[in-house]
């Protein structure tokens, strides 16, 4: 799976939880879940659970805490896929 595939799948997952829709038009690895997409912490949990289902991985508490941007999420996904 390429970098672009992963980012595109993350975008699909976050779209229903995104409050600030403009954030989706400039979506890239620097996109911040809280500031750019205005996804609150409770909905970020649902994003992470959907990421787990989509990529068939398990994300631990520590990884979750470091997941601020789309790039962070991609790095965690790649790491878990290679574990």
């Amino acid at each position: 799976m390429t970098n672009r595939d992963i980012i595109s799948k993350i975008k699909t997952i976050v779209t229903p939880y995104t409050q600030r829709k403009e954030g989706l038009s400039e979506f890239d690895e620097s996109t911040n879940f809280l500031n750019d997409l205005e996804i609150n912490s409770a909905n970020l949990v649902d994003v992470v659970l959907d990421v787990e289902d989509e990529f068939d991985i398990e994300i631990d508490n520590e990884s979750m805490e470091g997941m601020m941007t789309v790039g962070d999420a991609r790095d965690i996904i790649i790491k878990k896929l290679n574990d």
């Binding site: 912490s41 409770a42 949990v45 649902d46 992470v48």
Partner: protein, 148 residues
Amino acid sequence: MKSIDIVSKLPYSAPFLFVDEITSISENAIEGNYFFDKSHDFYRGHFKENPVTPGVILAECMAQIGVVSLGIYLVSKEEAASGTPRIAMTSSNVDFIKPVYPGEKVFVKSEKKYFRFNKLKCMVIMTDTQDNILCRGEISGMILKSKS
């Protein structure tokens, strides 16, 4: 942790405590009940001369039993937490099926859908003494261990 300890650990008091008893609890489910005394102040205004329990209060009762009480239990199992966990309701999606009048006792059953990353999401049902469904829905909250 026993059921009675959970009620004493709840961060509410009258007039905003809507839990009388927790009757059963496990990792995955909880049951409890509450009696809506007709002396509640909100009956004077909801509605004028026609007292009916407000839906927002029914949802609160469902959340206090179904999410907060279960959450306090789950957090206490994870570690011997000293204080009361910090809690916040984050979403509720409840259908109200039958009205609840002053002087009714209600029974709340909740099943955990997940408890991950401090978020507890539950499917909650409220029934009356004849087992009629009064309301049901999904309620979520964040349950954070108390800061030591």
